[in-house]
Symmetry: C2
Subunit: 491 residues, 2 copies
């Protein structure tokens, strides 16, 4: 049964009754917004629907109830150049609101499975993946404490024709009917089927659809205002209010031992190293050019023990590369803006453009390493993170990206030796801090976290490579060769 075709007609409200209820709702939404700010809940309100169904007018009306300091409106059309070079959710992840803010979307990520599908920019078999990606995206935001309200504004083909006719009849408004509008009107039947499937495939418990008959603007406005008030009310009443707490430490061992089995005796002599390095660096420069020509994005992720040699390793990787083609992205503690967003937001902001390489010096795995061990997030949060990270990497990889993940592994004794060396060498002293010594005391906790991380997030599209790094020469060559191999395989 087609949801849209079988929509009940809206109940009419008398003018006075409308005015009374609307005034009450407007005040209520204003008050709710202030409580949303206090409770730090991020809210997304999505408007989808037919051309000429009144999205603009209704959004504007809704905005009038809110304090303009607390919301943003995003109008979504065809992706621009920057956006087309990224996985399709990129432009939406980067637009997810800060805690306490409301993001209103005038069209949204559903463009992917409606307009882009009808226009054949997305094949039918890709649509299934897109639904899964969308549902995952919404689930992650809701799991992170967000609220998503999705509204579909429906009008019949007849009503749409009537509205276009009226707009075109008036010289002042005729410009508002575009060629695309006319085209979409002719394709009404096709869209009806597409929208129906879209709504059914993405009507989830955590982010349900509300279809609103907008043949009467007033009835639609009432329905939408009531809906949003209800959803915000519900979110506020169930809000567990996230006070910053120090969480308890995680278990110090994991059933599957991975690091313990690594052979750290592997070495490379200096002359062989230098010879291989030359070859690798020549090859990586060609690789950089090939990924540019093929518009392939590459992500190289570095994690590892303190003093495992991440910095030096990255340096050798990029030494001969053209700086226009790569970027080193250092990940430190989140800024205050980043803290006000979903954990993954700041990483989405750094996803490389197709044809470019991004080298991450520490990564989103911080969630299941330092944040887990130091208790910066709850056990529920870091446990959820494995799945969220796998989802994110799958989405990026299905866009055509190559993902290489390194764990630079050294022994406990080797770390101690390097720490001591840093302390006694004048130009290395800045590299060693009290925090490094404190982290070192938690070696077993970190070890267990690494074992679990590698076990749970080694996927076919984004496998971990453990780099034996007691010998820096060996580690550097292995890392560069792994990047070369992964890209060559993908090319």
């Amino acid at each position: 049964m087609n949801i849209l075709k079988n929509l009940p007609r809206p109940v009419k409200t008398a003018k006075d009754a409308y005015k009374a209820e609307m005034t009450g709702l407007e005040l209520k939404l204003g008050a709710l917004q202030r409580r949303i700010i206090g409770a730090k809940i991020p809210v997304m309100i999505v408007f989808e629907g037919w051309d000429a169904s009144g999205k603009g007018t209704l959004i504007n009306k809704l905005m009038m109830s809110f304090d303009p300091r607390g919301y943003n409106v995003h109008s979504i059309s065809k992706p621009n150049e920057e956006e087309a070079f990224r996985p399709f959710l990129w432009r939406f992840w980067t637009k997810t609101p800060e805690n306490g803010r409301i993001a209103i979307f005038d069209r949204s990520w559903y463009r992917r499975v409606s307009t882009e599908r009808v226009d054949k920019d997305v094949r039918k078999d890709e649509c299934g993946n897109a639904y899964a990606d969308i549902n995952t995206f919404e689930k992650q935001l809701v799991d992170g404490g967000g609220v998503i309200v999705k509204i579909f504004l429906h009008i019949t083909r007849k009503e749409q024709r009537k509205r276009f006719k009226k707009l075109r009849g008036n010289p002042a408004t005729s410009w508002r009917v575009t060629k695309d509008d006319i085209k979409h009107h002719r394709q009404y039947g096709k869209y009806l089927k597409t929208y129906d499937e879209m709504i059914k495939s993405t009507d989830t418990e955590y982010a349900s659809w509300t279809v609103v008959d907008s043949s009467s603007q007033k009835a639609a406005a009432l329905a939408i205002f009531r809906l949003i008030a209800k959803k915000l009310d519900k979110a506020l009443s169930s809000d567990g209010s996230s006070k910053p707490v120090k969480h308890r430490p995680a278990p110090s061992s994991y059933q599957k031992k991975i690091l313990a089995k690594v052979d750290l005796g592997r070495i490379l002599q200096k002359d062989e190293y230098l010879r291989k390095l030359d070859d690798c660096q020549e090859r990586i420069r060609d690789i950089e050019h090939e990924i540019y020509r093929k518009r392939m994005p590459v992500l190289v992720l570095y994690e590892g023990w303190d003093a495992a040699g991440k910095g030096g390793n990255i340096r050798r990787l990029v030494q001969s590369m053209d700086p226009r083609g790569y970027e080193v992205v250092p990940i430190a503690a989140p800024s205050d803006i980043e803290k006000r967003h979903h954990y993954q937001w700041r990483f989405w902001n750094r996803i490389p453009k197709a044809g470019h390489m991004a080298i991450f010096d520490r990564t989103w795995y911080g969630r299941v390493l330092v944040e887990r061990v130091e208790g910066f997030c709850s056990e529920k949060e870091w446990r959820r993170s494995y799945g969220e990270i796998n989802d994110m990497e799958r989405h990026i990889s299905s866009f055509g990206a190559v993902i290489v993940k390194f764990w630079l592994n050294i022994s406990n004794e080797e770390q101690l030796r390097r720490f001591k060396e840093r302390q006694t060498t004048p130009w290395k002293q800045w590299k060693i801090t009290d925090e490094d010594w404190r982290n070192r005391e938690k070696w077993d906790l970190y070890s267990a976290a690494v074992d679990e991380m590698i076990d749970r997030t080694s996927t076919s599209h984004a496998p971990w490579t453990i780099v034996e790094s007691n010998c820096k020469y060996f580690a550097r060559i292995k890392a560069i060769e792994t990047v070369i191999g992964a890209v060559e395989k993908a090319l």
Copy 2:
């Protein structure tokens, strides 16, 4: 005399001497970078020069000396769609580095007065303005505590031909010679003249040019490393180290009285207001469409006393507008990221796209109002700000933008009445805070700051409009009519 034609040939350095000096310089640059981070100095290193002069290689070599966590590289080519719809400095302002970070530019804003000029995208008479804009931009960054190092890599026409020939002769590198490169090589003579004028017109005391003969890569590398080390050393030794201090209050009167002369008795009756409001809102919707078609950016700036009615005024302005065409930009206290940038950086990030309207609820004038009165910045800083703001507005306006600036004025008594009303009306109580009462005690200080602001920043391209706001109806109509009038005049 052409600077480039008369460059002395570089002195050759023996291989061993080169290696020894270079190793020393690399260590030195690394150490300097760490001190730059500590001293919170933002650094910009600009590489300009001929195609095939070795910019990429030299930049990469330079990067190896720095900790990758502390710098970014920006490769500048033709502006993309987003950038072309903004004043030309927009993409550079938004890329200025945080305090303590180094931004390396592989080509830069000088594209405007070199490639774009030779390609006739910029007319000769516009070039004069572009030089002024560039010098102003650099001066503001240096005044804000930044360091700018500008390097021009020079090779002769003959050398360039030789390099292209070599690159094209090798199948592995032939792709690196583009059609544009060949075109530019043919135009060598034209570029020689253009670069000469560019260097002479922008070689300032605060941001001087260094021309480096890069026919020998090693000699060029030594020259560049020495130069950067010298510049960073100098910046560190003259750094006044900016501890956060509370500055002394500004004088409480200004010789030119402006607010005192405003006639606050102007009113509008409700029925006339409603009639006019209808007319205005119909017209503003058309205006919004016209600015979109003409690709004209519009900035509407709201400043005013607490409780002067900014929020309600903005609401009436946008009520009938299409949300796709405008954005309300609320300006609050800066975030920690924003604090680490030049004061104007966060405003540049919010400049509207051509064809769109941005309505600022509070603005960059915060510098000469709240920051001045509360002592959040030094007297030197807010005094400098008048000129900086005028420069910024001139740059935006010369791109074709309309700038409308409102001061919403109410009397001291009216403010008191509104504050009391807010306290006693349940749904308005959230609007009044202790801070509002504290600010009220500084009425005279704020008055003097407003008088001086209006006097010093009323320009022909961005005039202030004082909106008499004791009567909200009058104020709302006046504001909308002013916006309509300003846009109509520009159209």
